[in-house]
Amino acid sequence: MAETILETVRLVRTYAGGVQALKGVSIQVPKSKCTAIIGKSGSGKSTLMNILGCLDAPTSGEVFIRGVPVDYTDTARLIDLRRNEIGFVFQQFNLIPHLSAQENVEYPLLFSYRPEKERKDHASALLARVGLEHRGSHYPGELSGGEQQRVAIARALISEPAVVLADEPTGNLDSRTSDDILDLIHEINRKEGTTFLIVTHDADLGDRVDHQITLHDGGVI
């Protein structure tokens, strides 16, 4: 059994108005594996993703990253975890439009006071890793959807996080480009041992991952 890098214990999230999005979710994400959380719309997968990404706090329950419990009342610690332990890949790519591909990849390191040369070298290497070494000076508006998502993957990897959270990473792409992106994720996962947690409503994607968790109505099936 692989080492667990991310774990939740009886996670509950109740929104104002009494809607319970998560009803005691306990999951384990193995290190260096590709795990998928599969669920339909309203199953609670986005809520789970936000809590794991330290963007939202659970009503009760616990989250462990590298075995250390996350204190959701410690804002500075949450920012630190977002900066160093979590990488985000969004469905809509969410690149900063006025920054070039290279600058977008460097962007997270700006907040952790890394020297410029280190940032640039690291970002260039990652752009090459996702096959976009020749597109570094291009702006998001000049890139295709697939290219933008590759830049977003490179950005998620730049701080060498414990886990990359990918929220419907192929949701805005055609099937061929989606396959390319999933191939890229798999390749990085296999070759570099990066842990990926992919949230999707696409049950077919479950066949392409090492481990899958199905959410339904706020609970794990």
Binding site: N50, G53, L55, A76, I79, H98, Y107, L110, F111
Partner: protein, 405 residues
Amino acid sequence: MGQTLDFARISGRQILRRRARLILTILGIAVGVAAVVAIVSLGEGIRAHSIEMISEQSDLTLIEVTGDVRDGAIIPLTTAKVAALRGITHVRGTAPVITVDLATPHQTYIGAVGIGWDDFSTVFTPDFSKGRGYSENSDTAVLGSEIAESLRKYEGIRVGDDLTIRIREYDASGAPVDTEVVFPVAGSLRPRGDMFDTLLVTDSTHLEEWREGYGVYDTIYLRVDAPEHVFAVADAVRGLGLQAQGPFEEIKAVNRLMDAVIIILSFFTGISLIVGAMMIINTMMVSVYERTREIGITMALGASQRHVLTLILLECLYIGILGGIAGDILGVLLSMGINTLGKSFIIEQLGPGFAGFASADITLVTPALLAAGLGIAVILSLLAGIYPGLKAARLNPVDAIRRGM
């Protein structure tokens, strides 16, 4: 430092995304700055010309020191005070003076002042139309231009003649006792336009015999090395418990008046600065609203609230710097416009006494004024950015990413 530059670069690019909006916002603050610069330059111009006129017409470096009354006691002008005044920095010369009223046997009344010749020369630089100065410890005297003319006309006394003065004193029984004293007239002064035109000037030792309060002076005149040091010297004199007066006080009055005028006018023009600041708040609020998702993403990628606030405030800093520079340029142009188009009207309103303004610029733009214009624009812009910046920094990243445009 490196990070600050990176932030500055990112914020710079951010504001350049909406150039038309940026230009309008900059113009908003620039118009306010320009109005303040133009109004203050007009006030400063009038102030500078007024001071120049006073300087031309008055002896600005002369201070008249008299005794003051403190807590009911008169502080006399003693030799010790003279020494103390001489020790004040920037005092080039002191002239302790005693004054006596005299009369000739023909009842021509003469105001006489006693001053040591060296002091008189240093402080008042006498210029003779005839003859020469008097010597120390002698009874020779010089006459001011007007009194010399009167004595020549009514008593036939000229330079080189003896001027007889009748001193009336009273004996123990109250009966008058007249004594006659002779002052050989050594010279007569050219017209000076000051009190010496009507006075007889001689060495003080000679006059002291006929006045009360021996050893105490009536007035001490100070000559300061330069007009810009007069106020400091006057303050030092007052520090000795003495009164300091002189033409320099007119400058003080002009400064007080112009300060009041400039403050009042700046207050009204400052309203346009407030409008400019509100435009910045509005622009930044719209900008934050448009970039809600981007701000959420930035926070998800590890930016703290402080980072977000810094990015927004840096944008405001750029707006302030650009608005300040544009405002200064517009202000200088406005000031030139006032010079070209409004000068005749303003001179007409000020009256004939200000006709001298016609040959010079009526406005005065100084580097300090331009720096103040830039500073005001930057400070206002940063203040205007605080609310939108805090609004952005306090966004919930989940909501921002979900709801953002």
